[in-house]
């Protein structure tokens, strides 16, 4: 016992260092895998409020740019409205079409904090559980996919963006239908990569990369980016596809949170599948 106490006394600084490092590293590695609580992230009430103040001060800087974006978006959507389409066949086109049912609902939100230089980048947005945000919902920007909801508090939420290592959004190449997962290498905020595309088919440069919608997070067909280049991976029959993101995550200010109204239905149905093992 005395020897043990002497040992403790001799190495107490190192032991204390190990203890504190243990706490910090456990925090780091568990949060990278799965968020445990909102209190230790920027979505908590105190830091969230402070970021809101900061956002209220700085949002005017980007006002003009945001207006430009919104105007472009409105123009794009306006062009698709039925009232602006020419009826070719006067008999068949009906405006009140009951065959469609709304599956995805978009809630607008503002980003109040963002980073893009880290290895794993998270955004904080100004809507939360009281506005119907849930963990795992999709987040869409103005030009492209942003990420998924990582953690939610009452009035705020954090977004795991495409600029994280394990974002794994199901993506596909629009023309050929080849699908894989989106990854990020942690260096360039403009470029990501698409894994799991087999190299027996040619991938055209600058073809569109869109969401596949298989997980029920995003509808199919939201733009992610364009194929910038393809490279063969040594020893595997796969392409390493570099994707140029459609969204500029360094500038983005406003996003939409996508709620899939039929997600539970899809999950319930898929839970009945026999175990693949």
């Amino acid at each position: 016992m005395r020897n043990f106490l002497a040992f403790l006394r001799q190495f107490r600084v190192i032991l204390f260092l190990a203890l504190l490092q243990g706490i910090a590293l456990t925090w780091y590695f568990t949060f990278l895998q799965y968020p445990r609580s909102q209190y230790l992230t920027s979505a908590n009430a105190v830091s969230g409020t402070m970021y809101k103040w900061q956002h209220e001060i700085t949002e005017f800087v980007h006002l003009k740019q945001n207006n430009d974006w919104l105007q472009k978006k409105v123009a794009r959507l306006e062009a698709k409205q039925v009232k602006n389409l020419l009826k070719i066949d006067r008999e068949n086109v009906k405006i009140n079409d009951t065959l469609y049912k709304v599956q995805y609902v978009y809630t607008p939100a503002e980003i109040i904090r963002s980073t893009h230089t880290m290895r794993n980048n998270y955004f904080t947005i100004n809507i939360g559980a009281e506005q119907g945000v849930e963990v795992g919902m999709g987040v869409f920007g103005v030009n492209g996919v942003v990420g998924t909801i990582h953690n939610v508090s009452d009035h705020m939420a954090t977004v795991k963006t495409c600029l994280t290592e394990n974002i794994n959004i199901a993506a596909m190449i629009e023309e050929s239908g080849e699908h894989g997962f989106l990854k990020w290498d942690g260096k360039n905020a403009r470029k990501g990569s698409l894994t799991g595309i087999s190299n027996d088919r040619k991938v055209k440069k600058w073809s569109n990369v869109i969401t596949r919608g298989s997980a029920g997070t995003f509808p199919r067909g939201l733009p992610i980016g364009k194929v910038q280049k393809t490279k063969a991976i040594e020893g595997k029959p796969l392409w390493d596809v570099t994707v140029l993101f459609a969204e500029d995550y360094r500038r983005i200010q406003r996003v939409f949170v996508i709620k899939n109204l039929l997600r539970n239905e899809q999950l319930d149905l898929e839970a009945k599948n026999p175990d693949p093992k």
Partner: protein, 173 residues
């Protein structure tokens, strides 16, 4: 005594605001991230026990983590900084030891001393931080590049901070 504590608290708040609301948003490129908060740990009193030093560093780093969604990376790096501070201080101690009344800033201890101690400490701090962040041996060159470039910029920022906010000693004529 109370004024010393007050000075440290004001400095903590100031460095915290600078780090979280300004420096975290600056983009320089080449993977550079500027960090000014280690300066607070350097400027804590010399006679402070290393346990308290590490505890304060852990708390301060953790606070920055909570605000910048880095999940303990800053806390871990700050504790490493605090652990090495007494060791480096002993290594570069002035001939007649440290004066308890003196603060370990670059005006009172001299620029040469500040360059050596803080330079080494911030290199250790940044290296640990980027090692944790990337956590891959294959990208060691990238880690070293980020560490070196960021450390130089952080160091310059800390000099600027001291020039702006610390009281310079009166020159005796």
């Amino acid at each position: 005594m109370n004024t010393t504590i007050l000075t440290h608290i004001i400095r903590l708040v100031l460095l915290f605001i600078l780090q979280v609301f300004i420096l975290n948003y600056l983009e320089v490129g080449y993977g550079i991230q500027m960090m000014i908060y280690p300066l607070f740990i350097l400027l804590l009193p010399v006679e402070l026990n290393v346990f308290y030093l590490m505890l304060i560093a852990f708390g301060f780093g953790g606070l920055i983590d909570i605000f910048s969604d880095t999940f303990g990376m800053h806390a871990s790096a700050a504790v490493i900084f605090a652990y090495f501070r007494p060791i480096i201080f002993k290594l570069f101690a002035p001939r007649d030891g440290y004066d308890i009344l003196m603060e370990t800033n670059m005006f009172q201890m001299g620029f040469g001393w500040f360059l050596r101690t803080f330079g080494i400490l911030i290199l250790i701090h940044h290296l640990w931080f980027f090692l944790l962040m990337i956590f891959r041996v294959s990208e060691i060159l990238y880690i070293l590049q980020m560490t070196g470039l960021s450390a130089v910029l952080s160091f310059i920022l800390c000099i600027l901070f001291q020039q702006l906010f610390l009281r310079k000693p009166k020159k005796e004529a």
